[in-house]
Symmetry: C2
Subunit: 343 residues, 2 copies
DNA sequence: ATGAAAGCGCTAACAG
DNA sequence: CTGTTAGCGCTTTCAT
C-alpha cells in the first residue's frame, strides 16, 4: 500500500532524533516533555510541514472529531438559517462538520437509523426533523450524543433539544390581530402529515386557537387551511380562503414564506393589505423585512448556534443531563396589519 | 485502547467461519468469492448489524471518502444556494461532505493553504472564493483535485471551474435598459477590494461599460458606486446616487440584494419604480420573484451541482484535463424596468 | 523524560 | 477461492 508520501510522524521523529511517541506527546500538548526536546520536535514539525493524518488519529484515539448534522435542506428557508448558525458556531471548534441532507423518506430513515449507531461522528445534530416512533428507539440507543434543533418529541426526554415556543408565537400573532379588532381570523399552515414530522405549524395553530378562545371567538374551520410548505401552495390556499364572501379579515400564517404566498393571493384578488386583509407571518426572514411584513420573529441562527453549543458541552461532559432549551419569540409589527375595515 | 465495542470485521469472520480478508472482499464487492461463502458472510454481517469503521477503512485504503467544501457563508445568499446544489448532488454519492466556513481572512488563508496539502479530503470545492496570488501556489501543488465554483482566476488554468458569464450578464442588463430608452444608467456593485477576491461584480461592471459604449453613451462615474455587499450598504449608496439632481433614470445592481437596497432607497426618496427609476438586479433569488424585480437570472444551484459533478468525475478519472464550464445567464423582465419618464 | 511495542480495524498483496 | 500476513500512521501503556 504505497501512497503519495506526506511526512509522517516517523519522519519528524527521525529528524528530531526522538521517538514517534515523543512527537505525538508534543503534538497533543502532553506535559512531561523536556523544554529542549519539545523545541527540537517543533522545529522538525515546522521544517517538514508535518500535519498528522486524521484517519490514523481517529483510528487510534477512537474519536472521529466530526459532528454530523442532518438537515432537510430544501424544505424551508428557516432550515438553512439554522444550519448557518450551526456552521458558524462550529467553525472555531476542533470538529469537522459533515452534512447529511434529507429529501426523501429513504434518506430520512437512513439518517435516523444508521447514523446514531455508527462511529463516524462524535455527535449528531438534527435540524427541523422529528423522529417517528420507529426511529425513537435508535436515538435512545445512540452511541453518540444527539441534540435536536426545532423538534420536540415528547417520547424522547433523554435527548437534548432547543426549541422555540411556537404555541406562544402563534398566540401572540393572533392576540395582536384580536387586539386590532379582528374577529374573523384565518390560519394558514402546514399539512399535519408533514413528511418530516414537525410540529411547529401545529403548535402555532394551537396558540392561535387559544388566543381565539381567550377572546371568546369561536374557531371557524372554513377559515383555516393547510398544505405543503411552499409559497405556491400557500398562494393557492389563500386564494380559496380569501376569495369567498364572508372571508376572514386577517390571516395568521405559519411562516413568512406562506404569508408571502397569501400576500400575492390578496393582491391577485384585488384585496389591499392591510386595509382589506391583515397578514402576519412567522420567522422574520429577510423577505419579511423587505416587504414590511408583520411577523413573529424567532431566533433562527441562534437556535442552530445553541444546538451546537449544547452538543459541544455534552461532548466535553458526557455525563451531563439532557437539556430542553426553549427560545423566545417576538412579535414584530410592520405594515401588513391594521384594524379591520369595518372596525 | 478499549472502546465501546461495535462488532468488527473479526466478529463477522468468526461467525461466518471465514477469515477477515474474505469478509472484506465481500464488503467491497470483490469478485472471486464463492456464492455460498458470500451468503454466509452476508448473513453474519446482517445478524451482527456490522458496519465497517470508516477511520480504519480510510487509514488502510488511503482514501478519506470526504469532499471538502469551502464557503464564505454569510457574505451573500447566492453562496447558500450554490452550496445547496453541491449538497444535493453529493447526497447520493459515497462521499461525505465537510463544510469549511470562511468569515475571516485568517480562516480564508487556512483553507487555501492547508486544506489542499492535507489528506483529509479526496477533493475540494471552493465556492465564490478566488485564491490570491500567494494562494495560487498551494492550489497548484494541491495533492487533491480542486474545483472552483463562481471564481475564475486566470493564473490557475490547471484548475477546473464552473463560472457564469458575468460580463454577458452585466451587458444584457444594461442593454435592456438602453433598449428601453435610458441614457443615464448607473451601476451599483461590490467594492473592488472585496475581501474574498471575487470578480463577479467587476465583470458585470465591464459588461455594463461595454453595453454603454456600444450604445454610444459615455460612462458617468458619478452614477456608479460600490461598497460592501449588503442591502444596507446598497441602500446608503443608492440614496446618494438617486438623491442628486441629474440622477440616473436607471440602475443596474450587481445582485438582487443590492437592487432591493436601491429599491428601498428609491421609495424613501419618493421615487416611483419603474416610472421614476428603473432597477435591474442579478441572481433571481426568491425575493426578486416576490418583488417583481427585473433581473439577470443565473443558475445558482446548478452551478453547485455542476461543480460537484466535475469533481466527482475528476475523482473517477484522475487523469482528466481541467475543465472550464461557463453557465449562461438569462434576463428576466418583470415590473421594475420601463422606459424613462421623459422618453 | 523518553523509547519500545502493542494495538486501533481494515485492506491488499501473497501464498496456496 | 480463501487464509495469512504485513502494514496504514498514530496513540498509549509500560518500562527504563
Amino acid at each position: 500500500v504505497k501512497r503519495s508520501s506526506q511526512p509522517t510522524i516517523r519522519d519528524v521523529a527521525l529528524r528530531a532524533h526522538v521517538s514517534p511517541g515523543t512527537v505525538s506527546r508534543v503534538m497533543r500538548g502532553h506535559r512531561g516533555v523536556a523544554q529542549e526536546t519539545r523545541r527540537r520536535v517543533l522545529a522538525a514539525i515546522c521544517a517538514l510541514g508535518y500535519t498528522p493524518d486524521s484517519a490514523a488519529t481517529r483510528l487510534s484515539t477512537g474519536r472521529s472529531l466530526v459532528i454530523g448534522v442532518v438537515v432537510p435542506l430544501s424544505t424551508r428557508p428557516s432550515v438553512s438559517e439554522r444550519l448557518n448558525g450551526v456552521v458558524k458556531s462550529l467553525a472555531e471548534s476542533s470538529y469537522d462538520l459533515v452534512i447529511h441532507n434529507v429529501e426523501t423518506a429513504d434518506q430520512r430513515t437512513r439518517c435516523f437509523q444508521n447514523l446514531p449507531r455508527r462511529r463516524d461522528a462524535d455527535g449528531l445534530l438534527f435540524i427541523s426533523l422529528a423522529p417517528r416512533d420507529a426511529e425513537v428507539q435508535a436515538l435512545v440507543e445512540s452511541r453518540v450524543p444527539v441534540v435536536l434543533i426545532d423538534a420536540d418529541p415528547p417520547a424522547l426526554v433523554a435527548v437534548s433539544r432547543v426549541v422555540v415556543d411556537d404555541k406562544a408565537g402563534g398566540h401572540s400573532a393572533t392576540r395582536h390581530l384580536v387586539g386590532l379588532g379582528h374577529r374573523r381570523i384565518g390560519f394558514l399552515g402546514d399539512a399535519v402529515d408533514d413528511a418530516f414530522g414537525l410540529t411547529s405549524s401545529r403548535d402555532r395553530y394551537r396558540g392561535y386557537l387559544r388566543a381565539l378562545r381567550e377572546a371568546g371567538i369561536p374557531p371557524r374551520p372554513q377559515d383555516c387551511a393547510t398544505g405543503e410548505h411552499s409559497r405556491a401552495e400557500a398562494h393557492a390556499l389563500a386564494l380559496r380562503l380569501l376569495g369567498r364572501a364572508g372571508r376572514p379579515t386577517a390571516l395568521v400564517a405559519a411562516s413568512d414564506t406562506q404569508a408571502v404566498g397569501a400576500w400575492e393571493a390578496a393582491r391577485e384578488l384585488g384585496l389591499r393589505v392591510p386595509e382589506d386583509v391583515s397578514l402576519v407571518g412567522y420567522d422574520d426572514i429577510e423577505i419579511a423585512q423587505v416587504l414590511g411584513l408583520t411577523t413573529v420573529r424567532q431566533p433562527l441562527q441562534h437556535s442552530g448556534r445553541r444546538g451546537a453549543e449544547l452538543l459541544l458541552q455534552r461532548l466535553r461532559d458526557p455525563g451531563a443531563a439532557a437539556v430542553r432549551e426553549v427560545l423566545p419569540t417576538e412579535l414584530v409589527e410592520r405594515r401588513t396589519t391594521a384594524p379591520p375595515q369595518g372596525a
